[in-house]
């Protein structure tokens, strides 16, 4: 494995535990509050369900990208200190 790749993976290993905590809390919230409305839309309002599915998955992708950026920046700032 190239040296640069190894360095990059080491820095990511520092970020992962914090990310896991954030994501675990997020999953509990999502499953708790979205399961019921999404299930009922799936059963009775398929068009609404399809639209919500796309918005949720794209939106979540952007939010998670932002979260990883913030986590990386926070860890970078801590290291510099």
């Amino acid at each position: 494995m190239p040296e640069q790749a190894r360095t990059f993976l080491k820095s990511m290993a520092f970020e992962l535990p914090l990310y896991v905590v954030v994501v675990s809390a997020y999953i509990v919230l999502v499953l708790r509050y979205l399961a019921q409305p999404l299930h009922s839309w799936f059963a009775s309002q398929r068009v609404l369900y399809a639209g919500a599915a796309l918005v949720l998955i794209i939106g979540q992708g952007l939010v998670l990208d932002f979260v990883t950026f913030l986590v990386g920046r926070a860890i970078g700032a801590l290291r510099r200190r």
């Binding site: 399961a35 019921q36 399809a50 599915a53 796309l54 998955i57 992708g61």
Partner: protein, 301 residues
């Protein structure tokens, strides 16, 4: 834990781990990762029509993350990606209609599973042959540095003979390419995407490199950009048909988001032929998993 939409019981931690692994592969190889996620979800007990739709939804979200990272690295050929959408959307729709037909005949698991295995093994065999030839023909070192591939002559010939209109793709270093050829390549990719699920990167990424002649790094990134559009469309189409469990896709994506960023960044440290060689075992693993799933029921439950 019970997911009420598909009525399947899966531990969320497994889904996050699966998403992470598929995310790394997706970011690194420019594929949606359905060659791995599809068989594993099937193994978890998800019916095959839900596997196809749910995997597409998860891939749409994950590709946003990976494509953003590739955008920052300047690897995406947007003109190429947007032109490919013209062929991809009809292909995805035709594939989704085929799934609907098979659902009515009750053979969906066997037919989709068998096609999946055949395509995966053919892709792996072809790429093994090509990378071996490339490394032998140009003594490895030079090929790696210049991102050569053994079928370069084929892509150059296709660039010369395709019917008009033509397009110039400076990001991909292609002076002239036939738009109908590009649309046909993307239509085939879309067909596999709608029929087998995922972004069909296992077909489109090799097609972009070997048929269209796009450099490996640009093919990886542009494929991801194109997957956002095709998988997004596929998500809507399959959700309307009742094939998407979006809760499963959302949980998987939490792992995939970080994995995709890692994979995308790693492409910076490897050469084209190395990326293609590393890709080869993945379709074989996917094929083995789906054969095992078809023969033995739901082995991971």
């Amino acid at each position: 834990m019970l997911f009420p939409i598909s009525h399947v019981q899966i531990a969320p931690a497994y889904l996050v781990a699966l998403g992470f692994v598929v995310g790394v592969f997706g970011g690194f190889f420019g594929v949606g990762g359905s060659f791995l996620a599809g068989p594993v979800l099937f193994g978890f007990g998800l019916p095959m029509n839900f596997v196809v739709g749910t995997d597409l939804a998860h891939i749409a979200g994950k590709s946003v993350v990976a494509a953003r990272r590739h955008h920052k690295l300047g690897n995406i050929d947007y003109r190429l990606g947007l032109l490919m959408v013209i062929g991809t959307i009809p292909g995805v729709e035709l594939g989704a209609q085929l799934i609907e037909y098979l659902k009515r005949t009750a053979h969906v698991d066997v037919v989709v599973g068998s096609c999946f295995v055949a395509i995966l093994l053919a892709t792996a065999a072809f790429m093994t042959w090509e990378t071996t030839k490339t490394l032998r023909a140009s003594r490895g070192e030079r090929a790696a540095k210049r991102d050569l591939n053994y079928l370069r002559r084929l892509s150059r010939w296709i660039q010369r003979v395709g019917p008009p209109p033509y397009v110039n793709l400076p990001v991909s270093n292609i002076r002239r390419l036939s738009v109908p050829v590009l649309v046909l390549v993307s239509f085939v990719g879309g067909l596999f995407s709608g029929f087998l699920g995922g972004g069909a990167g296992y077909i489109r990424m090799p097609s972009l490199i070997y048929i269209v002649g796009v450099p490996t790094h640009v093919a990886v990134a542009t494929d991801l950009f194109e997957i956002i559009i095709s998988a997004g469309y596929g998500t809507i189409s399959h959700a309307l048909k009742g094939n998407v469990d979006i809760l499963i896709a959302l949980v998987m994506q939490t792992g995939a988001a970080i994995g995709a960023q890692i994979g995308a960044q790693l492409t910076e440290y490897y050469k084209g032929v190395q990326i293609r060689m590393a890709f080869i075992p993945l379709p074989i693993i996917g094929a083995a998993l789906i054969v095992y799933g078809l023969l033995s029921g739901h082995p991971f439950q």
